[in-house]
């Protein structure tokens, strides 16, 4: 304490060039001090558990008692874990089912609301964003009631139109589609807002000039807006990809991973193994495998998205 005050009283001495890195740090020590709380907390609750679970993935552990070192046994085991690979496959299927459609809708809505031709666009923006701040558990249960096979409101509606009831939650593919509907409903607004932020950075004159030159609005959308929005679309695509493997509350409240594990996501699987099965070592191995796969998928996506 005293020493700090002593230093405070004396202005820091000029240090000769080239300035050492430590000198830079010293110079900005107050800035570092002020941003340190985040890093301290992150180190305790983020970095340490991440590092610890590397070691954990090489052990068997129930959460209490001694850790039993088993080497790479957990990793060789997970190669044969059909349920885990099914959950990864589910992640890919869900990605295909909802990400392209959701991002396209988000972009179209953002363009429409951003065009200045919609009266009261703020209201629409709020309405579309609203589901994002709705509690997912509550929304999931509401969807579950709406999509019930018999006497669900959706099927009753289809019935009055003369259509057959759809097994929304009772068949492998329909359950995935129903889950996708819930996800799009919940996340469309979030992605739309990000798209709108991106659109603000595109000068209006570009599209206007194209329109004056005789382009149709649809042409302008595909030839001007989408190319310029590439970085924003890439961002939303990457976060949505990570999101579709990491779905949790949506699945837990709507389908519980069923039917026949068709909507089980890797994250739910890892949670079940860790806390239902008391196998924290194996769950850590699953988590790191999951992390590695998502990491490379993201790198691939970013690479591919930047090129062309």
């Amino acid at each position: 304490m005293e020493s700090i005050q002593d230093h405070a009283a004396v202005p820091p001495k000029p240090i000769g060039r080239p300035r050492s890195r430590w000198g830079e740090v010293r110079k900005s020590r107050w800035a570092y001090a002020f941003i340190s709380p985040f890093y301290i907390l992150f180190a305790i609750f983020g970095l340490w558990p991440m590092a610890f679970s590397v070691y954990l993935s090489l052990t068997e552990w129930k959460g209490v008692g001694p850790l039993e070192f088993v080497g790479f046994e957990n990793y060789t085991r997970l190669v044969r874990d059909t349920v885990f690979w099914q959950s990864m496959r589910n992640g890919i299927i869900l990605f295909v089912l909802y990400v392209p459609l959701m991002l396209f809708l988000a972009l179209v809505l953002a363009v429409i609301l951003n065009s200045g031709r919609v009266r009261g666009y703020r209201i629409f923006r709020t309405i579309i964003f609203m589901p994002f701040i709705t509690n997912m558990i509550a929304a999931g249960f509401a969807f579950r009631i709406l999509f019930t096979h018999q006497n669900g409101l959706i099927n009753i509606g289809l019935g009055t139109l003369g259509l057959d009831a759809v097994p929304w939650l009772e068949s492998v593919w329909w359950a995935r589609i129903t889950l996708s509907i819930l996800i799009i409903w919940a996340w469309l607004g979030y992605n739309m807002v990000i798209m709108m932020a991106g659109l603000q950075t595109i000068p209006h004159d570009l599209t206007e000039a194209a329109l004056v030159d005789g382009a149709t609005p649809v042409q302008a959308f595909f030839r001007i807006t989408i190319p310029l929005m590439r970085p924003v679309i890439l961002f939303t695509a990457v976060t949505s990809t990570i999101g579709s493997f990491g779905l949790f509350a949506e699945v837990a409240s709507l389908t519980e991973g069923g039917p026949i594990n068709a909507t089980l996501t890797p994250l739910i699987r890892i949670y079940n193994v860790a806390f239902g099965g008391l196998r924290l070592g194996y769950a850590s191995a699953l988590a790191y495998t999951y992390f590695a796969i998502i990491f490379f998928l993201t790198i691939f996506q970013v690479r591919y998205g930047r090129e062309r």
């Binding site: 700090i4 005050q5 405070a8 107050w30 001090a33 002020f34 709380p37 301290i40 068997e60 129930k62 959460g63 209490v64 008692g65 085991r77 044969r80 874990d81 059909t82 349920v83 579950r144 009631i145 019930t148 096979h149 018999q150 006497n151 097994p167 939650l169 009772e170 068949s171 492998v172 359950a175 389908t255 519980e256 069923g258 039917p259 026949i260 594990n261 079940n272 193994v273 806390f275 239902g276 099965g277 008391l278 196998r279 194996y282």
Partner: protein, 465 residues
């Protein structure tokens, strides 16, 4: 000057941090039964009245679901307090499954457990496995002969007993008298019991009901099946998820035969596709035979606690139309009893008032008079068999068409065999089996293949052989 200001802000920040982190150690924490605050209250047993040797006193922190707290408060809690005035009870409520989940975290974390908890038999072996519960064998000894054997078994490991059984869920077949009559079948309990003596006979009854009335026999969902009917069928045969050596047993020939028996009901197309605990399921249990919109079901085979649910809220419209008989056996003369659900008291090792915790559990459910009062109020079927002698058990119940239903359940409860279903790995194996049943239900696999795959998955996930 700026730097001094900086120091001040930094100090404040540090203080805030310490305050956040140190909240749990705050000695000013009062009796606050909010869920999040319990670890705080737990680690700092302040102002606890001095407990002298042999005296039951001090703070007693109990984790229960709200409904169970109500049961105690509405029945004999006042008498407990009159007898033990120095015990200060604090309640923390969690949703049903959460008591065990939170307790698991507390045991794994080494801190934050209550003095006493009430949770389902199903989740207790997992906690025993973690080594976090007090061994109650010697205290239970005098009561053991009168306690439901299967319930005791669920809370035991290696001959030691860790739970004080409160209630059990003897599996019963509830049936609709009016639908049986409309199908041209007998409807008196004794006759129906005879009629559905085995699952094969039950299938014939189901076919007749479907043909004559159009009603479904019971709910057996295909794609999202929870597996409860199948688990009850396993339990009645004493078949477990693991065998006595602790190896995964779910693909044994008997397990396969059991699933084949169940699958016959799908093949015969006599069951509804409703999933338990959903609106459609409630609706079909409460539907009239001539209801226009909903096809009723004629039976439900489930833990006896369902009788209370039917009467109170699921099927209140059908008062007088329901009856209750023992579940069908797998083969003629076989066991017609299984268990589904039920709960027990457990005392965590971390408990700071184990004496009062035991005394509370003993007072509530090991004393026949108190337990009877609790049963009368709650309808949780007692694991303490001496309660069955009470006059209440020979009273006719108007909801069940004046049948003496409690007597029927009381006759079944002691017959429940021990089965290794409520084991530490229950949650994991249940998941694997649900998938297998769903595959059979949707025609994606036959029982043998589906169970073989489930066994494979279960072995991989549990690490058992």
């Amino acid at each position: 000057m700026n730097q001094k200001l900086g120091i001040l802000v930094l100090l404040l920040l540090a203080l805030a941090l310490v305050a956040c982190g140190g909240e749990t150690a705050s000695p000013t924490e009062e009796v606050a039964p909010a869920a999040g605050d319990t670890p705080a209250a737990q680690t700092e047993p302040v102002e606890e009245p001095e407990a002298t040797e042999g005296e039951i006193a001090g703070r007693l922190l109990i984790w229960v679901q709200q409904a169970n707290q109500d049961v105690f408060e509405e029945t004999v809690l006042d008498e407990f307090q009159a007898q033990y005035p120095d015990v200060t009870i604090e309640w923390v409520n969690y949703p049903p499954d959460e008591v065990a989940n939170q307790l698991q975290v507390a045991i794994q974390g080494g801190t934050g457990a209550p003095d006493l908890a009430v949770t389902e038999h199903r989740s207790i072996p997992r906690l025993v496995e973690l080594g976090g519960l007090v061994d109650l064998t010697s205290q239970l000894e005098p009561y053991m002969a009168n306690l439901n054997a299967a319930a005791l078994d669920s809370g035991s490991k290696d001959g030691e007993y860790y739970s004080v059984p409160w209630d059990v869920g003897p599996v019963m077949t509830f049936y609709r008298r009016d639908i049986f009559e409309a199908a041209g079948l007998a409807s008196a309990p004794e006759e129906v019991s005879e009629l559905i003596g085995t699952w094969d006979e039950f299938l014939d009854v189901c076919i007749q009901i479907k043909e004559e009335t159009g009603a479904n026999c019971f709910a057996l969902n295909k794609a999202n099946n929870y597996g409860d009917v199948y688990f009850n069928m396993l339990w009645q045969q004493g078949l477990g998820f693991v065998d006595d050596e602790g190896n995964i047993a779910v693909d044994s020939p008997k397990h396969v035969a059991t699933l084949e028996t169940l699958a016959q009901f799908w093949e015969a197309d006599v069951v509804s596709d409703e999933l338990e605990w959903n609106d459609g399921w409630y609706a079909e249990l409460n539907a009239s035979l001539d209801a226009p919109a909903v096809t009723p079901v004629a039976t439900v085979t489930i833990g006896s606690w369902m009788g209370n649910f039917l009467e109170d809220w699921v099927a209140a419209d059908q008062a007088g139309n329901w009856g209750v008989v023992p579940m069908p056996a797998m083969e003629a003369g076989g066991v017609r009893a299984a268990n589904q659900g039920g709960s027990a008291f457990i005392i965590p090792e971390q408990s700071t008032n184990k004496e009062a915790a035991w005394v509370f559990a003993e007072f509530m459910v090991l004393n026949a008079d108190n337990h009877l009062a609790i049963y009368e109020y709650s309808d949780y079927f007692p694991a303490l068999e001496t309660v069955y002698d009470a006059p209440l058990f020979s009273e006719p119940q108007s909801y069940f068409g004046d049948q003496v239903g409690r007597e029927t359940v009381a006759a079944v409860a002691p017959q429940v065999p021990e089965a290794n279903i409520y084991v530490a790995e229950n949650a994991t194996i249940t998941g694997a089996l649900q998938t297998a049943i769903q595959k059979v239900g949707t025609g994606a696999a036959d029982p043998a293949a589906a169970l073989e795959e489930a066994a494979e998955t279960a072995r991989l996930e549990t690490g058992l052989d």
